[in-house]
């Protein structure tokens, strides 16, 4: 298995940077998910790795060897396209065998490997079907088998689940994950769906506007977001914009400023609070924040309250429901909200 090192790669279209100084080191056998909203540069990055887009700057190395000057067909990347890009005029077997044919692998050997791949993706018996005779999930597996058949250095998955029915997604995600773990192929996947990324990646790279926001595992990103964007993009966060005054005062437009858990530099800042890390109590006493319930919703496992904490600010509090104890508070109830210091993230405005 190979490593992938992306060093300060940028892509400019005119003066606009689609990808700006992207760096990432992928270990052998690791699966990294590039995550971000559309237009964040994740697909451009994938296409630069594949060779369909030339990097304006920087270097990309596979197992230490630069590949930026290689054309796509010499990069040995196994790509699964978002729409699978199966060759419609070739059977499933011919699709899977295409890369082997291009590599001049003998018929017998190629046929053996195609069978092996068909078995791997559990499509035995469908070898002679044309793509249009296969279901979406089957097509996706053919695409995966085709990419894996060439024994690629790196596997690239472009939105691998987006074309599947919602009901199939988690199952396919798990299958891909298992396959990837078992065979240990170094993989980069691109997705705009944080659940997909969370479910499949060993590590995640969150991108926005062509730049990396944060790289880390699921827990890093969820518990220790480095930017307000990551905090809101990964899971849910209440973002409260305000201003740090003195040392621990955070003015945000509420009745009185919040007292921060630790010292911060003065200046504008954004506080991020996960809804489930907040504690809600009736009454206006012992809390960091006070407010009024706008609405409370009982969702079975959890109860969510929207609380007005300032004339123009509402936050959401989510708590596990405890039968008999934790029911919805009626709108208009005076409440106080408290949290543990570790739940509080404050980002200086950039």
């Amino acid at each position: 298995m190979s490593t992938l090192d992306i060093e300060n790669v940028s892509k400019f279209y005119g003066t606009m940077a689609a990808v700006d100084q992207f760096s990432l080191n992928v270990r052998a056998g690791e699966m990294v998910a590039l995550l971000g909203p559309s237009g964040c540069g994740k697909t451009t990055t994938l296409r630069m790795i594949a060779g369909f887009v030339a990097a304006s700057r920087g270097d990309i190395k596979v197992s230490g060897r630069s590949i930026v000057d290689l054309p796509p067909h010499k990069r040995n990347m196994g790509i699964v396209f978002q729409n699978y890009a199966l060759f419609p005029h070739l059977t499933a077997a011919a699709n899977i065998g295409f890369g082997l044919e291009m590599r001049g692998i003998g018929r017998a050997e190629a046929s053996r490997r195609v069978d092996e791949m068909l078995a791997l993706v559990k499509l035995d018996g469908l070898a002679d079907r044309l793509p249009r005779q296969l279901s979406g999930g089957q097509q996706q597996r053919v695409a995966l088998a085709r990419a894996l058949a060439i024994r690629p250095d790196i596997v690239l998955l472009d939105e691998p689940l987006s074309n599947l029915d919602a009901s199939l997604r988690s199952e396919v995600a798990r299958d891909i994950r298992i396959l990837q773990r078992e065979h240990g192929f170094t993989t980069i996947m691109v997705t705009h769906d944080q659940d997909e990324a969370m479910a499949m990646g060993d590590r995640l790279v969150v991108m926005k506007d062509g730049r990396i926001q944060q790289t880390g595992d699921q827990e890093d990103l969820y518990e220790r977001p480095e930017t307000a964007f990551v905090a809101s993009f990964i899971g849910r966060s209440n973002l409260i914009e305000g201003h740090v005054d003195g040392q621990r005062n955070f003015a945000f437009g509420g009745e009185q400023p919040l007292l921060l858990s630790s010292d911060r530099r003065s200046g504008p800042a954004t506080m991020a609070l996960r809804p489930e890390r907040l504690a809600l109590r009736a009454g206006r006493e012992a809390g960091k924040l006070t407010g009024t319930v706008v609405v409370g919703v009982y969702l079975g496992a959890v109860v969510e309250h929207a609380v007005q904490i300032a004339p123009d600010k509402r936050i959401v509090v989510r708590q596990a429901s405890e039968p008999g104890n934790r029911l919805c508070l009626p709108p208009g109830s005076e409440v106080s909200i408290d949290w543990d210091g570790s739940a509080e993230r404050v980002f200086e405005a950039s």
């Binding site: 369909f52 054309p71 067909h73 196994g78 890009a85 199966l86 060759f87 419609p88 295409f98 590599r103």
Partner: protein, 295 residues
């Protein structure tokens, strides 16, 4: 038999209703085609079995003499061979020149694309006669090409009244049709397929031949057939560029019809030309697309 099976389901009934409505909508078109296309063809077929008389012109008869005359006279078969050769070679060149242009255009992402597409369509606004006259200016004795060739020391280069000149003229007329058809054919082929092929180790040329070409083949056949039919029936170009000594089928049958008033023979010529075109088209389709299906 269950009740459900005996009674059509509502959706079935609706489908039948749609079918009936669709057939009703098709009826006027079918009638127009029958009246405007089939009836004249049948008339043509009937006339081709009539006899020509210099005085009475067309005499009702049931004779095959117009057909035996065509196939028995080397002149007519020569003209047909010339026509087929010109049509085939102009179509081959259209394909050769047209495909790369169409491919580039289809894959081109530029704000100039629409402008360039318009440039492609523009020649179609000028009749083939006018364009042929343009070529006459270029080709003729003392024309631009001849002058250029002479001044470059290439000797005199005569394209006027040559087969090459006629083929060039036909290519210039048919090329936009070829490019426009192929452009939409290529646009219908997902660019990801080529990239998939490349990522699997196919060099661009190989990706083209292995993936794009077989997928484009049916549409390409349509474009080629379109050019072939246009070339088989070319009139203005062979007359204007080919000159009096260059004979192709369409001018020949027009001449039989108007100058000789020999409608029976002209009808036979028309049907022979049409049949040849049709048979060659079907054969090419069978051969090329059939082989692809087997592969």
């Amino acid at each position: 038999m269950t009740l459900a099976a005996a009674t059509p389901l509502p959706s079935d009934r609706r489908e039948k209703g749609h079918l009936a409505a669709a057939s009703a909508l098709l009826t006027p078109a079918t009638a127009v085609v029958a009246v405007m296309l089939v009836a004249p063809l049948l008339l043509l077929l009937r006339m081709s079995f009539n006899r020509f008389d210099p005085t009475k012109l067309m005499v009702e008869a049931a004779t095959a003499e117009n057909y035996t005359r065509f196939f028995g006279d080397a002149y007519y078969t020569d003209v047909m061979i010339t026509t087929v050769v010109v049509a085939l070679s102009s179509t081959a060149f259209c394909l050769l020149f047209g495909f790369p242009i169409a491919y580039r255009l289809a894959r081109w992402q530029s704000r100039w694309k629409n402008a360039v597409m318009l440039l492609m369509v523009l020649p179609l606004f000028v009749s083939s006669t006018v364009r042929s006259i343009g070529w006459m200016v270029l080709f003729s004795h003392g024309g631009v090409i001849n002058l250029a060739a002479t001044s470059l020391g290439l000797g005199t280069m005569t394209l006027m009244q040559t087969t090459t000149g006629v083929i060039i003229g036909i290519i210039s007329i048919n090329l936009p049709y070829m490019i426009l058809t192929l452009q939409s054919v290529v646009e219908g082929i997902d660019e990801n397929l080529e990239q998939a092929a490349e990522s699997l180790g196919a060099a661009p040329a190989r990706a083209f031949w292995r993936i794009v070409w077989p997928m484009a083949l049916p549409g390409t056949m349509i474009a080629a057939v379109l050019c072939f039919i246009l070339a088989m029936n070319a009139f203005a170009t062979p007359v204007l560029i080919g000159g009096p000594r260059f004979h192709m089928m369409a001018p020949l049958l027009y001449w039989e019809f108007t100058a000789n008033n020999n409608w029976p023979f002209a009808s036979a010529l028309a049907l022979i030309l049409m049949t040849t075109t049709l048979v060659m088209t079907v054969l090419a389709n069978k051969l090329i697309l059939g082989r692809q299906a087997r592969a």
